[in-house]
Assembly symmetry: C2
């Protein structure tokens, strides 16, 4: 006996539940929603997923997700070509773009060094980063990797590779998040925020 009473529904639920974080119950709820909506909804969703997978590429230069060989950021003449922000993946590009505080270019590593998961430097676009430094006129590299042991390891690895170039290397500030109370901030973050304290005039200028 087929619990679904419809092989079409069963197939859709099975496909949906292969998505991360989507269990059978959620998949069923989504499938029933699609059945209740008009045909345009299912067609729009289905074709847009297939078209995306078929046509999307990674930018030749920064390895960000792109519709063309060169992504919109890399091909934008208004961006500052001399500043490179190194990030773990494409989601970080979007997160930083959303802040509207950065006008340089990106370099997506495609992950960070993680010996436990078996991810080494050769699995990432680190060699490509060094090639860009050789080829392009880069004056500053901002390391915007996660504030974890793996992030720090990757930062250090890149630093060692890049230190002989005449390039300014920075990491994004670690400190107390805006809106946070000091008493609820963990000691390491609070300690770092004292060590890396910012001159007050610098804040006044913003």
């Amino acid at each position: 006996m087929n619990e679904f009473s419809s092989k079409l529904l069963e197939s859709a639920v099975n496909q949906l539940s292969r998505l991360p974080g989507i269990g059978k119950k959620t998949a069923l709820r989504l499938a029933l929603h699609i059945i209740r909506e008009d045909e345009d909804f299912a067609n729009g969703l289905g074709t847009s997923l297939m078209k995306m997978k078929e046509e999307i590429v990674f930018c030749d230069k920064c390895h960000n997700i792109s519709d063309a060989a060169l992504c919109e950021i890399c091909s934008n003449p208004k961006r500052d070509e001399n500043t490179l922000c190194v990030v773990e993946d494409v989601r970080d590009v979007m997160a930083i773009e959303n802040t509207a505080q950065f006008n340089g270019l990106y370099h997506v590593l495609g992950g960070i060094i993680n010996p436990i998961e078996g991810i080494g430097p050769n699995d990432l676009f680190i060699r490509e980063l060094v090639e860009r430094i050789n080829r392009e006129e880069i004056r500053e590299i901002i390391l915007a990797l996660p504030a974890t042991v793996e992030g720090d390891t990757t930062n250090f690895y890149i630093y060692k590779l890049v230190q002989h170039f005449e390039i300014k290397m920075t990491t994004i500030a670690r400190g107390v998040a805006i809106g946070d109370e000091l008493e609820y901030t963990d000691e390491i973050t609070l300690g770092r925020s004292i060590l890396n304290r910012t001159p007050f005039e610098q804040i006044m200028k913003r």
Copy 2:
């Protein structure tokens, strides 16, 4: 500036986030997962959703989801045609089928009476239920609606319509859920479970 750096990704995220319970962040996570998987994954998912929406129908008899005019349950000669289980929607059919404790047929109302949301008897397949009672040889109707005010209202409405037929009407038992401690069971449920106590011999027989 397009935060997504890819219109294909943006379109997929927008489509995914129209699904219930899927926000922009989740939609992005799903889309990036689809990009990382091979092409078969996106094609399988996309086509199965579109095919489901295009081809799925509702059973002429019980209004359950179906691949044909008559669903697998209604067209199964081994099912007991004399017992009808009335449920709110197709998910309840699946839930009851999963228990493997019911071998009769179903009648899906497509909702329950809910004056606040403007759902009246005419919005539901209640008239069709009475027609089935007139036409088919039904001996027992099991009302398996939610244990809420709306469920009880719908139960009562159906009872009033059906009482002049010579049909046994029952509702599913309300009581203490299996595994629950009495001290954490709400008073109304506990009170009902005493009023509707079950002869012990009946339990011994199972």
